[in-house]
């Protein structure tokens, strides 16, 4: 009897303290000022780029996975055209998708431009249906699939942020599977410290201990993108024979691209990014050659240039010293004569 009386009393006591604790926590939450929490957006896309070779009048489906690793948010999908900008792989987005390629989403619950909720740590798959029209002219068409976050609402003076992440969709329309190319070397030379023009010829000169930055730019004048596999080589006196391999990046139709090494080389006196920088001691005349092949093709194109490594600074100093010594000698001679 005693036992049965004590047990409920103990339980009751515990229930009371749990209720008090619960109430206390709620009071704390309500009464204490809450720290403002930033709305963070962290999104990723896979794959970040696709290249599609398609005949006209073909439909295909490609899925892109967008993961929300930040706070829950409202998002939407958009597809716009882009043009290559500059010579380093930058993009200029256009307002809408242009050209003979039609896009739609195959998702049962999403359409392009429609907003949807994406919880934290969840993935939204954009199942993109890509259709080339039956009269699509052969050539390349470039698009970006964007996932756009909806900006937050606010009643204060604010800049409301929206994050967009893009995946590039490069489409080559071809009837036969052949993508004829037209490419030329747009620029291939060193970035010289000195430049002289003598007898109608330009001489590019560096100091013997200078870094030798080389610029290699390709111009794609064809209708299809190309992926060059290039190597730059320097040959000259003192057994100098060095080469560097360039990264196989895409050169889009009607654009130029600077080729670079995988780990970007930098140099002290360069205004812009060079393709490669050769370091060492040089003296005399050097030949520079570029050997450019293309994925899947046997044919190659070549670029050639030359430069001189001469001790211009040293020569200037010696000349100045010589002139100074000569003037001094004349001065001393005339002084001795007078005496």
């Amino acid at each position: 009897m005693k036992k049965s009386q004590t047990t409920p009393r103990g339980c009751y006591g515990l229930t009371i303290s749990a209720k008090v604790l619960n109430l206390f926590i709620w009071l704390l939450i309500l009464v204490l000022p809450q720290s403002a929490r930033a709305q963070q957006v962290k999104i990723s896309v896979l794959p970040p780029q696709v290249h599609i070779l398609s005949k006209p009048d073909i439909s295909l489906i490609k899925a892109f996975n967008f993961e929300n690793q930040g706070d829950p948010g409202i998002f939407s999908f958009q597809i716009v055209s882009f043009k290559p900008r500059g010579d380093q792989g930058n993009l200029q987005l256009l307002d809408q998708a242009e050209g003979p390629v039609r896009f739609s989403l195959e998702n049962s619950d999403k359409r392009l431009g429609d907003k949807f909720f994406l919880p934290s740590r969840d993935t939204a798959q954009a199942i993109v249906k890509i259709r080339t029209t039956d009269n699509a002219p052969e050539g390349d068409y470039y698009y970006t699939l964007l996932m756009v976050s909806e900006p937050p609402t606010s009643q204060a003076t604010t800049g409301r942020g929206s994050a967009m992440i893009g995946a590039n969709i490069l489409i080559s329309v071809t009837n036969t599977g052949l993508t004829p190319s037209s490419v030329k070397v747009a620029q291939f030379q060193i970035v010289p410290r000195y430049q002289f023009r003598l007898f109608g010829k330009t001489f590019l000169v560096v100091e013997p201990t200078d870094e030798v930055p080389v610029v290699l730019k390709l111009a794609n004048t064809g209708a299809f993108l190309i992926t060059p596999d290039a190597k730059i080589q320097v040959k000259g006196p003192f057994g100098i024979n060095k080469s560097k391999k360039m990264l196989a990046v895409n050169v889009l139709s009607s654009s130029q691209r600077l080729l670079t090494t995988r780990e970007l080389d930098s140099c002290g006196h360069c205004q812009t990014q060079p393709s490669a920088v050769f370091r060492g001691f040089y003296f005399g005349k050097y030949q520079l050659s570029a050997d450019i092949g293309f994925a899947g093709a046997n044919q190659k194109i070549f670029g050639q240039s030359e430069f001189w490594a001469l001790p211009i600074k040293l020569t200037k100093t010696v000349l100045l010293l010589f002139i100074f010594a000569f003037v001094l000698l004349l001065f001393l001679k005339s002084k001795l004569k007078h005496e």
Partner: protein, 243 residues
């Protein structure tokens, strides 16, 4: 003289040794795997024909990858995911630390700043981050606005940051410091650009990136003729992989 006693036990041992030997000597079968969710074969051969084509500049011999050609004939298309120089697919990731730049109550001649951080991770070669505003900072009815900054003299524009220190120069603009930031910001916290209504790159690299971060500081300074009200705009940050 060695005497081999053929018993059941020895026979089992013999076959076990043979089996172990066979399993070790069999080479790995290389399957023709075209792709999965996390990996896709990157074709090095994009041309499907087996003949020579050309252009005024040079000619190309087209070679034929059998599997790819078969897929081309059957489907009429080929999809290559990723980049030529990187054979595993990795996601491209973009983070904005905050999406609300709340400037609070503005006092004429007293500049107010708000910050957020942009972070990029990309295993491919190169990325860029751009920003643009939908319109100038304006009231809800759109009748009153805060001008974009022109900076101190020399003047800045959408592509060129210049120094903006003077509290007598008014407007709305942004500064960026951190990794891979455009050179015109001069590595300084005092160089600003006005926000443009078309995308402008403020952070870019031609290399692979891992947690590359930049801090974007938005600044407003108003004069005493600025009408009272709540001013807003949408700042759109776009992260793109280079092609």
């Amino acid at each position: 003289m060695i005497v081999l006693k053929i018993t059941l036990k020895n026979l089992i041992k013999f076959w076990l040794i043979i089996l172990v030997f066979l399993s070790l000597s069999i080479s790995q079968v290389m399957a023709d795997r075209m792709g999965s969710d996390s990996y896709e074969f990157v074709f090095t051969n994009i041309n499907m024909g087996g003949r020579t084509t050309g252009s005024p500049n040079y000619t190309l011999d087209m070679s034929l990858g059998q599997t790819v050609a078969k897929r081309w004939e059957e489907n009429g298309y080929i999809v290559r995911a990723g980049f030529q120089y990187i054979h595993i697919l990795y996601p491209f990731s973009f983070e904005l630390s905050d999406t609300t730049l709340d400037f609070g109550t503005l006092i004429p001649g007293t500049p107010v700043t708000e910050q957020l951080t942009a972070t990029i991770t990309h295993r491919g070669q190169g990325y860029e981050v751009m920003v643009y505003q939908d319109h100038k900072l304006q009231t809800f009815d759109g009748n009153t606005w805060i001008e974009d900054t022109a900076c101190d003299n020399p003047y800045c524009d959408a592509d060129t940051a210049e120094s903006w220190i003077s509290s007598a120069v008014y407007g709305f603009g942004y500064n960026v410091t951190g990794h891979d930031v455009s050179a015109d910001f001069n590595g300084s916290a005092d160089y600003f650009r006005p926000f443009s209504t078309s995308p402008v790159t403020f952070m870019e690299s031609s290399q692979a990136a891992r947690n590359r971060q930049s801090v974007i500081t938005a600044k407003i300074n108003i004069d005493n003729t600025q009408e009272a009200g709540t001013y807003q705009t949408v700042l759109r940050f776009i992260a793109l992989p280079k092609f």
